[in-house]
Symmetry: C2
Subunit: 239 residues, 2 copies
């Protein structure tokens, strides 16, 4: 109601947040390209013209959303790609991290997944760039892992991209899994959602496991044929 604390800029940032949040919520059932400026202001409860005080266009708002959505993703690197524990522990921890993140910021996750290949060029490119930064950081973390000894920078980046793609795909699966309802502890029955969630978790874990195995044997045949590098993993599969 009133403005108990803070200056005027505080109020400005508050309605800015309201705009961002309203947009984020509206974007759960549509894409940014079809999101109207008036639609957002209506949801916030301000005049359409007030929108321009905060963003130049919906596209602009979208880019801002990319920023905070990807930023919220960053801390995941520490828990999901860290080099502590055995392989199975690490996989479990990674999957749990992703699940937790989707629980905390579902709208952010959905936004990224939807707009990554969406119809708004500026937002697409913003996501691509931010994701590239993120991937590079993952690559850096992977480099510190003893398993990565002897890997070329290119191969490490490839692996990081694979992991990041996997992370997003897994997050998307968690999003699509029927929500485990808002009641975390009230009922102890499994519920439809929890079953689906666990199925997703197990599949995701298996995927990571396969990648992890491939990683372990990546350098098994150091130099076979002349070319540039990786040895062909050819084995008798001739039909």
């Amino acid at each position: 109601m009133s403005h108990p604390l803070g200056t005027r800029q505080a109020q400005k940032q508050r309605t800015r947040r309201a705009l961002l949040d309203a947009a984020l919520e509206l974007l759960e059932e549509q894409s940014l390209g079809s999101l109207g400026l008036r639609e957002v202001t209506r949801a916030v409860g301000i005049a359409p013209t007030a929108f321009y005080r905060h963003f130049r266009s919906v596209e602009d708002l979208g880019v801002a959303l990319v920023g905070e959505a990807l930023e919220s993703l960053h801390p995941l690197i520490g828990t999901a790609v860290s080099a502590t524990g055995d392989a199975e522990e690490r996989i479990a921890r990674a999957v749990e991290s992703i699940a937790g993140h989707v629980d905390r910021y579902p709208a952010h996750m959905r936004f990224i997944v939807r707009e990554r290949h969406g119809g708004v060029r500026a937002v697409r490119e913003a996501i691509r760039d931010q994701l590239a930064r993120f991937t590079e950081e993952v690559a850096k973390t992977l480099a510190e892992d003893p398993v990565s000894a002897g890997w070329s920078a290119d191969d490490l980046l490839m692996l990081a991209q694979l992991y990041v793609d996997q992370m997003i795909a897994t997050g998307c699966l968690f999003l699509e899994a029927p929500a485990s309802a808002g009641t975390p502890v009230t009922t102890s029955e499994p519920g439809h959602g929890d079953r689906a969630r666990e199925r997703v978790a197990r599949t995701a874990a298996r995927r990571l496991r396969l990648i992890s195995i491939g990683r372990l044997h990546w350098l098994d045949r150091p130099a076979d044929e002349g070319t540039s590098g990786r040895g062909a993993a050819g084995v008798g599969t001739a039909g």
Copy 2:
């Protein structure tokens, strides 16, 4: 101009195609949710009301597009996942198949990638279902591969999903790579596009290689811990 061949239904299907094609082209720079009915008819050159003779809504048109886009994808299974040749040959063939498909049907590919997580529920679900069918067929093909001997059905499906995701991701990368211009043979210089294309091809091949390696060693530790199945591939990586 005239109607030399065919009945009246031929003409109907022709404008239906025109609608689909126009939509497909318009969708290269926007998403289905923001695609207007009038926009499509305007591009085709017919009255807006004529649209209803073919589709009930733009959503409906989208679902139709899903059908033909995914159908065009099916023949890829034979060339990209077949069990002939050594691993390296197969990987190269898979990447080439995908590149070729993107060259032939770029709009289809873009449509799938964009709308797979897009803002139109009906289309999203149509893609998910069709993609599930596709994946199951891939799994069936993989099952015939000697490498898959001893694999559980669940694991095979997981691998198929991984391959399908990889296929789409690779296709998307080829789409984003600057086009190699419409002139295939006129100039023999590499050009910006061709360099980018080859970079994409090499990265995609490496990804497939890693997955292939993981596949080969998937059953290395048949039964380690009690649980349900796959042995933990844990190896000394403790930080």
